[in-house]
Amino acid sequence: MTAELGHLALALALALAALQAVLGLGGGARGDAAWIAGALGAARGQALLTVIAFAALTWAAVRSDFTLLYLAQNSNSQLPLLYKITGVWGAHEGSLLLWGMVLALWGAAVAIQGRRALPAAFLARLVGVLGLVGTGFLAFLLLTSNPFERLWPPPPEGRDLNPLLQDPGLAAHPPLLYMGYVGLAVPFAFAVAALLEGRMEAAWLRWARPWAAVAWVFLTLGIAIGSWWAYYELGWGGWWFWDPVENASLMPWLVATALIHSLAVSEKRGAFKGWTVLLAVLAFALSLLGTFLVRSGVLTSVHAFASDPTRGVFILVLLLAVVGGSLLLYALRGERLGVSDVRFAPVSREGALLANNALLLAAAGAVLIGTLYPLVLEALGGAKISVGPPYFNAVFLPLVAPLVALTAVAGVLRWKRDAVGRLARLLWPAGLAALGAGAAAVPAARAHLAAAAGVALAAWLAGGIAVALWQRARHQGLRGLARMGRAEAGMHLAHLGLAVTVVGVSLAGPLELARDVRMGAGDAVRLGGYLFRLEGFTRVQGPNYEGVRARFRVLDGDGRMVARLFPEKRRYGSRTDMPMTEAGIEAGAFRDLYVSLGEPIGKTGDWAVRVHVKPFVRWVWGGALLMALGGLWAASDRRYRMGVRLRRAAVAVEEPA
């Protein structure tokens, strides 16, 4: 019964989404208050119905209702409750239902919050576009990937959730990533609505900035948690593989980063408006492309899960409609946004942000080429190829390095026009810091000069932030620092996060030590000044798995114990042919000690064991966390809500008593 309720709710949500699209777009065009009110109501109703559908599937999962095909394939009565719930989004249908629900929730949030900030007709169009996207997506869900499909007779037991996904990291990773992906639908709808309206006002742009920033924050967190999860769960100790599925989330992130910077210029200076529209379209298109790549199975990926190509075609059509439709609209109406006559010199904050956008887009383009090249080549009847990390490192890093260097300068640059001489006078301490840090890193980084250069770059950026703060303190005193707006403080925090991540990326890879060894109880292996001693094995019995746990003792050069590690190899009840590696990790601010079990080999009870010492790997994710915090802090700036009050005041004046 629950399932039928969920199915019905989903079908009604589709109907409401279509209604929302028609009433919103029509109401916006006609300026009809009743239609507009209807569209806003439909947005709330759609959100409520998708929540009901999602709750119905969750309830069925908790009760282990295996008459549902989806649950019979992806759940099990022996699963711990947490994984029964997170398993709801563990596979295709459920994760798309989550996508649809998140989209509807963003839509409802816009409908509620936008009423206080945006003109009714513009908001109606915005909500209408979101309804259009929702219609496409819910139709896709119902027609090709219905999570409520029945299975009769039901199997006595479900096939279980993929053991890799039975992990707290997975509980958080897809929802965060989807919040980001789908959150980019809001700037997209904003851009399309502005094109329909034929203008884009500073107050609207001010409204759009925190929405874009929050979507970006979710995307940042989703990617970081995904990377962290791959690090500890896949057992290889890697945190980024340049894998198509990872690239699929990185591309929208890069474009969304460009978007939040371009939005800032559009709002503050009235420039780059057409460009902002294109970025908003591109960011959402890449989100859809990401969903397509992950869900269609067209690419060989280490993270690929069983998937269905016919569904991919549907997403591809949706993608083409979104991109084609909005680009066509841009071609027809783009001019009306007004060719800006805003002047700025090449050396100015606008100029720096333009370069930032160019570099970010070039980086996204390089990733896109490497990700899609195998697909295109094969479609053209060419050879079957794969593109490896050397390509991405060779193309991506040279584009990102100047971007990081530029970030430090942009923090102190003035709008409109600035002088190179002034910048040099301001930034020399940062240059000194960069030289110092780089030189200090050379002995530690040994042969890896690129790693030392990375550290120097990070120090340059951190120094640039310090200079920017010092400038403020010098002109306005410490109180000026304390009074700094959240948007600005958040920006500096996010840039500091970038510096931290750059340190992590520069050092974690090149300075990593790793060895694959064959070990029996009592054996020891020396790596990077540490002695890893394997003391023995014990059997472990989990709620729905059994396994082997190795006991490691790690000693430093003086023979003191620094850590005890317990890597495991597990076999989950229903999928005994799919062993799982649980790495034993001692996390530290400056290095991780990491041991994972391979497989038992030989007859003597030996195991293949991988031992790692990973310097600074935590900095990769720590920096991402700082970026996300900075983004959130910036989005909470009062300035973004001030326009609301001003407008209200203006309306109050205009309206006759």
């Binding site: 057992g235 199975g297 079957k384 042919d577």
Partner: protein
Amino acid sequence: MSVALPHMPRGARRRAMGVLALLVGVGVAVALALLALRENINLFYSPSEVAAGEAPTGRVVRVGGLVQAGSVRRAEEGLDVEFVLTDGAATVTVRYRGILPDLFREGQGIVAQGRLGPEGVLVADQVLAKHDENYMPPEVADALREAHERSVRGAAPGGAP
């Protein structure tokens, strides 16, 4: 265009310069990307193609197929391992040193990446299996299908198999 520039109004000229700079930038980026691509792509071959001598020796290639049952041999000492990949029509022996992925086992579709030695043995530095036991790398699925079709076509002229 350089002729037209002096006569254009200031704004249009600036825009034209901007567009030109953008085009040059994009062009350079694409050229760099394609250059890097040429040097860093790994071609995929099926065991049949390797057996037919179509795969180059001495450069990194990928070979995919099913791990033949009973073919996995671990060395007595160390982490050396040898196994045979098959697409049903031909086989390739793969040598690897290190830890095999969790989902590596006999009968499973996997992709091995490495260099082909002179005797047609693939010395792999990477062995890829997937997260999901039902998942078959698309290349491997294609290789199996092609090998199957070839064997069907080959059998057809000779009458019933």
